[in-house]
């Protein structure tokens, strides 16, 4: 395990296709990420509400850019536009 946590945290629900779409994008872009799994019941997702402002997943927190975002299409667009053409060096660390 790396000593430093990857800067991207993905809040996800097991077997959720919208979450898998974000996972595929992260993997396609070779981005490291930490998965935090929450439960199907919205009422059980206070952590997502706290970090993202609302309870739907997938939601990501990108400490490198300070961006927090939910809704898979938004997240995929964000990831591709931010990291897709080497716009931000995904391997260069958080600084």
């Amino acid at each position: 395990m790396p000593d430093e946590e990857p800067p991207i945290t993905l809040y996800r629900l097991q077997a959720c296709p919208y979450c898998e779409r974000v996972v595929r994008t992260l993997q396609d872009l070779d981005l490291e990420y930490t998965s935090r799994f929450v439960e199907p019941m919205h009422s059980e997702r206070d952590v997502v509400k706290r970090v993202a402002g609302s309870r739907p997943v997938p939601a990501i927190v990108d400490e490198r850019t300070g961006v927090t975002m939910s809704e898979s299409a938004n997240v995929v667009d964000y990831l591709e536009s931010t990291y897709g053409d080497g716009l931000v060096d995904a391997t260069g660390g958080a600084d």
Partner: protein, 170 residues
């Protein structure tokens, strides 16, 4: 003459005091979510008390966590559980016991196997879980105190455990 049966567990070659605690990575469950975590990540922050327990919902699991919760052992070091139960079951247990401890989910029982504390359950064919055991691991991942059940059911010697935790934390 007693009319109940406490079962002797077979001798096991388990991790002992002075050994390096085997590192592992499993989903670690708290009251809000679960994410992969390793023992070495936890010990990097300080001593860790690793508590192997029977599957969530069994009375030994309930009793052990009630006792450790009431003793506030987490004030002195990180206390984490390990059982074969799923993250979903762990979340229920944490909620029901109203406890501050995080729990590793190890459905394939590989962590118990690495520590030499497996228990094949009679009457639950194909199910192996951890036998009750506690390992107090210091920041160098050396086992400072080990207790492994020799009979079933059995419970950690709480007074000894608490004393060892306090001694290591000071």
């Amino acid at each position: 003459m007693v009319d109940f049966e406490v079962v002797d567990l077979p001798a096991t070659d388990h991790v002992a005091e002075g050994d390096e605690a085997p590192d592992f990575t499993r989903p670690l469950v708290n009251d809000e979510f679960w994410a992969d975590a390793s023992l070495s990540e936890l010990t990097a922050e300080g001593p860790v008390c690793l508590v192997f327990h029977s599957m969530d919902g069994s009375f030994p699991a309930t009793y052990i966590w009630n006792e450790l919760r009431d003793r506030n052992v987490d004030e002195h070091c990180t206390v984490v559980g390990v059982s074969i139960s799923t993250p979903y079951a762990h979340k229920r247990l944490i909620e029901e016991r109203d406890m501050e401890f995080d729990l590793f989910s190890d459905p394939a029982n590989g962590v118990a196997e690495a520590y030499g504390v497996t228990h094949d359950l009679d009457g639950m064919t194909g199910v192996s879980e951890a036998r009750p055991a506690t390992f107090l691991v210091d920041a160098d991942r050396t086992v400072q105190y080990a207790w492994v059940a020799e009979e079933w059911p059995d419970f950690p010697p709480y007074d000894d455990l608490e004393r060892e935790i306090r001694a290591l934390a000071d």
